[in-house]
């Protein structure tokens, strides 16, 4: 497939990624956030596949496969199990009201578009809208982590940031060195496992809200 088709496809996938990010921000139940991030990881896998077909780089196929299996299937399933085991109110409680979060999100999107527009020559070499969308995803994932109280939704935010990093890297350099990719995935798996254990252990004694953890001051 030719350059123009690849550009257009990456653009379209970028728009769908932004939409899934908005759904995560506006989600009021943890289930919805988990499904949204699973869909997001699926889209990342598709994007990696498209780029793999275009450039013929075998690393990208591996990345696509790993993202698909780990981030689109396994990790959401783990989070889902944690939610079922916790069996507590599944609504997400934000620290700041949802409308403020959405307003900050709008500001982040506009700012990341401005940032990438001012990069000038570097911008030309990158596939269309991929860089600003990638930067937005990273920052919005951090926004989700900063504005939610439940540990599970913070994990979802971390995953979304991950997806953003992947997307930016793929779009900018048409693939990362495989070793970095594997390392990042392992970090994410470790973080998810630690969080799952922490939440389940903490749950057996107190309620699993991150906000409560700051009572553990010395």
């Amino acid at each position: 497939m030719n350059e123009a088709t690849v550009h257009a496809l990456i653009d379209d996938i970028g728009a769908l990624l932004l939409f899934s990010m908005i759904l995560i921000l506006a989600a009021d139940q943890v289930y919805r956030a988990i499904y949204a991030v699973a869909a997001q990881s699926l889209l990342i896998a598709v994007a990696a596949g498209v780029l793999a077909m275009a450039t013929g780089n075998p690393d990208l196929w591996v990345i696509a496969g790993i993202t698909l299996v780990v981030k689109a299937m396994v990790l959401p399933w783990v989070l889902h199990r944690v939610v079922q085991r916790m069996n507590v109110r599944r609504e997400v409680e934000p620290v700041i009201p949802v409308i403020t979060t959405l307003a900050v999100a709008v500001g982040i999107v506009v700012m990341s578009f401005h940032l990438s527009a001012s990069l000038g020559a570097v911008r030309q070499a990158i596939t269309g809208n991929a860089l600003p969308v990638g930067i937005s995803l990273i920052l919005l994932g951090v926004l989700v982590m900063a504005s939610r109280k439940k540990a599970l939704t913070q994990m979802v935010g971390l995953f979304a940031s991950e997806n953003g990093i992947f997307f930016t890297a793929m779009a900018v350099s048409k693939g990362m060195p495989l070793i970095i990719e594997i390392g990042v995935i392992l970090d994410v798996i470790l973080a998810a496992l630690v969080m799952a254990i922490l939440v389940l252990r903490v749950r057996s004694t107190v309620d699993a809200d991150i906000a409560d953890l700051d009572r553990l001051r010395g």
Binding site: A8, D11, D12, G14, A15, L16, L18, F19, I22, L23, L25, A26, V98, I99, L102, A105, V106, V109, V110, F113, H114, A117, G128, N129, P132
Partner: protein, 314 residues
Amino acid sequence: MTGERPFALVLLEMSFLMLLGPLVTGIIQKIKARLQLRQGAGVLQPYRDLAKLFRKGTVQADTTSGLFRSIPVFVLAATVAAGALVPVFRGGPPAVPLGDALLLLGLLALARFLTAVGALDAGGAFGGMGASREMTVAPLVEPVLMMVVFSTAVAAGTTELGALAAHRSASWLLAWRAADFLGFAAMLVLLPAETGRIPVDNPDTHLELTMLHEGMLLEHSGPGLGCMLLASHTRQVVTLGFVAALFLPASPMAAGSALGFLIGAAAFIAKILVLALYLALVESSYAKLRFFRIPQYLAVGFVCALSALALRIL
């Protein structure tokens, strides 16, 4: 710029939309009933309801001024006139210039204004509450609609609906660019608000706390109520046609042939049915939002529309 759609065709399209409106409502009710494992009334039931209403007499509240009798007339006229702006059988601007997307939104706003004024005319708390809530949701929907219209119009350089439909591409494929995904998502968020369906409003109940649109119709009766109901059916199909013109591909057949005409009609009905199915599914899957959570719901649409514009312009 003059187009090829003659004025007679525009009038035909307008009448077609008005006649199609109750059928679309009937289809949505039927789909909802089937999803709830009921039989449901037939798809032609709204027509029977309208016929029944036009045969009845009118009971009017004794505090109304002379304005109340003429409200259904003007509301129906404004809504049907909005239908003249929607391209049905094929895309392309009309031969006699009429208006654009902004005029369509303005005519629907006029219908809403007059309905709200009529609701306050009869006095009482039902009309007041319905009018107050409807006029709270309406200004929150307008900016998002304007941004969605702009996101498609900036690419085409015009806001005229026929030209936008033709610009959408005369092919059967969905020729969307990145910004259109988000614009369509914003439009889908707005559709229940514009057509008065769950999760924004409940068209099936008549309790004042759960309805926006129905509350304003409470004091109308007989043929007046028939006109108001026909206007709300027409408004629904006009909104669906508006979304179809902005986002779904136009019919590719050449103008002037009878076969092209029929294929255009069939394509339009298919597009409307897809959107009607979406509305029925949303109504069956979600509960009605508490009234003061509606701004949050609309804010999602706002963010989608703004991102669509950022993708388009920046």
